[in-house]
Amino acid sequence: MKKSIAFLLVLCCILPCIFAQGGSEANVTEDGRQIVTYWYYHKGNEATYQENAIARFNASQDKYFVEGFSVPDKQKYLVAMASDESPDVIALTNSEVISYQQSGLLEDMSSMGEANGFDFSIYDAPAVTANSVDGSMYAFPLTSVVIQMFYNKDILAAIGESEPPTTMEELYDMALRATTVDESGNIDILGYPLFPLASARQELIYAFGGRWAAEDGVTPTANCEENIRSLEMNMAFREKYGIDQVQRFVATGNTNRYTPQDIFFAGKQLFRFDGPWFANQIREYNPDVNFGVAMVPGTEDNPDLLGVSRYENTSLAIPVVADNKDGAYAFIEWFVTDGAKDFLLEIGSLPANNTLFDDPDLLASNEAFPSFMAALKTGNGIEAPRLSSEYTSLTDEYLDYVYNGTMSPRDAMNELQEQALALVD
């Protein structure tokens, strides 16, 4: 008897462990529709907008039924794709598309699109290249992210200007005139857009024609002259107002970023390179800020760089191990075409689909969108380097050496280039 109880207890402990992962799910709904599983990384309100889009698709369908799951942890994507528990559709960034496909994890969407008569002309060149490996698209982009220039009209007016700059030289001149310091030398108003740091690494560099990688995406170009020129202007500003003072101001900016105390909302920043969501945040936190939006300037030598920015997507892809690839494709095609507008209006993102660049509803939905859409139309979006994320880590480290005055821009970029080449090797 005792032995039996002991065995039962042991079984009670072991069996749940063994069968916890078990159980198979039917892949057809009660009304006979094929189930398509879709994992997205959004959460909170954004997950709700995803579910709304899924509901609209399901309402339009008698063949497929999409089940959406919010999976913010991208490691789960990899684990699922490495096992046989993969979803049929995944939402991911364009950088992840490249990274995943370098390991052969995704279906060739170019081939699937051609087989289904997909109209590829809805995508401009940046959207296509950002999601392509060796000439084939491995995901269809749904939303775009570009960064443009917000400016404080009151500060601009105070220095006698009515229009935002169109070149970096003009911007620098205005920044010097707008920057103010208190009696201790601490910065009160920051003219030059040194904050956010991610924009300083990207848009401030790109505006000078600088790049972190060559056209192929994998050859590092850290020490190109344009990068150094951009950093020299950056450092000229820092040295004029004191490296320590600028760093303090930036630290405060970082700590309070996107809070009611954000330095732009507080009227302490003339130019801010940020995304279209920033307009909504201004309205939420301090509607009194008198701001305008314009495209990121180019340079006097190269005014065509106007509107240059990082270019990123949220894209939809099909893992090679997906069960229902036809259903997955049907959902993705619907989502990036017919289903895109309603979703974008809800989530407040920019489209990747160029037929929506002039959509009046989208343009009216966010006061920053006209400038951002104009920037999208320039095609000046720049994809992140396809070198490993380790290169970005190194870049950030060497930019710190420059910003803190530990190394000169040229020395830092030369050393970074050496390190990057070692990574490539």
């Binding site: 005792k2 032995k3 990899l78 760093q247 930036v250 630290a251 970023r257 950030d396 710190d400």
Partner: protein, 309 residues
């Protein structure tokens, strides 16, 4: 021989005991021993989660020994371990001495001293990030009362590690509690005899208190040192939280707070170099093992010097 075999024969109680322990044994084998062995194997492979591991021999180890950031992370961790640990112990001992005294609201004071240890580290770190703000932070505002201009704690690479030490010394509740228990075990008669011999409070502290609790201090030093080599949560929050994003470098300004476990994490889950990360984990194990051995030796010496066993 046969006699020995009979002796080894399991009784019913032995078998039942083994069966009851079986779930834990299975858990240990699958969730601890197997990953341990696999991580050792992975440390000799190139492995990125997705593709199959590819044997590369000692390449991960040789790469690490030529990696500038490996040494930087090790030096940052050593700084924290060997600077913060003594400070933390000192703060804990002082708090324990205060908590050991008889005064009104002693219970409240003990609770306040211990409270930081039960606050979730992520939440506490977020609060500290705000406190370290160079312009609006409480710390610099407090320093300003004395005419001192506080540094840009989390953005100046010269001060970032000291900010971590300051943050760590706030959270010494557990060590304080152990020290307090040890202090309460010191016989009162020692102090009475010392008083009769004319020893003042400081002499009593040096010659009675410290030797009496030396074994506990050394033991806590070992634990804190090992914990320091696993210091992760705070730096991860500081370097990734939007509010605490003092630099876009993955290890803080100029990688000044790139701690060893953080770099290991980056290798594993950001750069997807599981082989290199596994090699780092094994190197860390060797380092911690050596340190523990040395500290245990010191502990025995300290105990015997203090008249212990």
């Amino acid at each position: 021989m046969v006699e020995n075999m009979k002796k080894l024969k399991l009784t019913r109680d032995d078998r039942n005991g083994f069966l009851f322990a079986l779930p834990w044994i299975i858990g240990f084998l699958l969730l601890s021993l197997y990953p341990l062995i696999m991580s050792f194997y992975y440390s000799f492979t190139e492995f990125n989660f997705i593709s199959d591991p590819e044997w590369v021999g000692l390449d991960n180890y040789t790469d690490l020994f030529q990696d500038r950031r490996f040494y930087k992370s090790l030096s940052n961790t050593c700084f924290y371990a060997f600077i913060a640990t003594p400070i933390l112990l000192l703060v804990a001992l002082l708090l324990a001495l205060v908590a050991n005294r008889k005064f009104k609201l002693k219970g409240v004071a003990r609770t306040i001293f211990f409270l930081p240890s039960v606050i979730p580290m992520v939440a506490a770190t977020m609060v500290w990030i705000w406190m370290f703000d160079p312009t609006y932070g409480y710390i610099n505002n407090f320093l300003a009362l004395f005419g001192i201009e506080g540094p840009a704690w989390l953005i100046n690479p010269k001060t970032t590690k000291w900010a971590l030490v300051l943050m760590g010394s706030w959270c010494t509740g557990t060590t304080m509690l152990v020290c307090l228990a040890a202090l309460q075990d010191v016989p009162q008669s020692y102090y009475e005899s010392a008083e009769l011999d004319g020893a003042n409070a400081f002499q009593q502290f040096i010659h009675i208190t410290i030797p009496s609790v030396a074994h506990v201090i050394v033991y806590q030093a070992i634990l804190n040192l090992i914990n320091a080599f696993q210091y992760f949560t705070q730096v991860y929050v500081i370097t990734t939280a939007s509010g605490g994003n003092t630099s876009t470098a993955s290890g803080g300004p100029e990688n000044s707070i790139l701690m060893y476990p953080l770099y290991l994490f980056h290798n594993a889950f950001v750069y997807q170099k599981m082989g290199k990360a596994s090699a780092m984990a094994w190197i860390l194990m060797v380092i911690v093992g050596i340190l523990t051995f040395v500290m245990v030796k010191l502990s025995k010496k300290a105990t015997s010097n203090a008249g212990g066993e």
